[in-house]
């Protein structure tokens, strides 16, 4: 079964001095988020950006895939904390993503935890969609 998720953005003016807003998304979970080129390429000043949204998409996708992998392995996670750090080089584009995960899992060695995290990194749909950039992983039991 296919699932569609849509986002709508409005923009006014040119790139450098104009500004935009992520007005609405399918779920209604957020809206009215301002974006601009200076906030994207320099200091964010509280504004989100495509790269921050990618960080959110990737960390949430990886967490879910990892929790699924751990549960299938009969070692379900009590808690996972995941950070995705997306690097953007203006003029070049997205130049790397670093995933950091710390987890609380009963009865699992750190080595097995790292192995399962690697599998989740490869398998998560957002990792596959962004496979054109370098994705690195730092995984350890908390």
């Amino acid at each position: 079964m296919a699932t569609d998720r849509k986002a709508e953005v409005t923009w006014q003016g040119d790139l450098m001095s104009g500004n935009g807003s992520i007005d609405s998304v399918t779920s209604g979970a957020f809206g009215g988020l301002d974006v601009s080129w200076p906030a994207r390429s320099e200091a964010p000043e509280g504004k989100t950006s495509p790269e921050e949204l990618i960080a959110a998409a990737h960390s949430s996708c990886f967490s879910m895939a990892f929790s699924n992998g751990l549960a299938s392995n009969q070692t379900p996670a009590t808690r996972l904390n995941v950070t995705a750090d997306v690097e953007f080089t203006p003029g070049t584009g997205i130049t790397g993503i670093k995933l950091t995960v710390r987890g609380v899992v009963d009865g699992m060695s750190n080595e097995d935890f790292v192995k399962a995290a690697e599998a989740a990194k490869t398998g998560c749909p957002v990792s596959q969609a962004l496979s054109g950039t370098t994705i690195t992983l730092d995984a350890a039991l908390a």
Partner: protein
């Protein structure tokens, strides 16, 4: 140009079927957005998902690219509306894959005709870093429409 870092953090508790997570932005632009497997692959029930966040990222990236292309062509937009629709589908081995992102740009702009706008929108997608990444594994389509002006009809 210096490199820019943006981060987001997620905490996840419980197994995948019944657990849930919360997503927070480094900038504070959004905080503790809840999500779960059921709302990701079925009805959203007000909850965001990785694919929705990817759609938001792609729409914002593409909007900036279209604004840039129109400005370079000497015809900056008066108003631009962009949507991105990301589709997650189950593939043969039972796993889920992001199969497409469909972009639509609607612009009010003086001095560009419909064909010219379509060309610029196509170039804007090629210039958007996310289109390039997504295209490696999924289909990116671009649709462009002029609105409300006297040009391009």
């Amino acid at each position: 140009m210096p490199r820019v870092q943006r981060e987001a953090n997620v905490t996840w508790a419980g197994n995948v079927a019944r657990g849930s997570g919360a997503i927070s932005a480094g900038t504070g632009a959004f905080d503790e957005l809840p999500y779960s497997l059921a709302t990701r692959i079925e009805r959203p029930d007000g909850k965001t998902s990785p694919e929705e966040l990817l759609a938001a990222a792609h729409a914002a990236c593409f909007a900036m690219s279209v604004a840039s292309e129109l400005t370079s062509a000497g015809t900056p937009p008066e108003h631009l509306d962009v949507t991105a629709t990301v589709t997650l589908d189950q593939v043969e081995d039972g796993s889920h894959r992001i199969v497409s992102s469909e972009l639509l740009a609607r612009a009010r702009v003086t001095g560009v005709d419909a064909a010219g706008f379509e060309r610029l929108a196509q170039a804007a997608s090629e210039g958007c870093t996310l289109s390039k990444l997504i295209e490696a594994s999924a289909k990116v389509t671009v649709n462009a429409r002029l609105e409300g002006g006297t040009d391009g009809d």
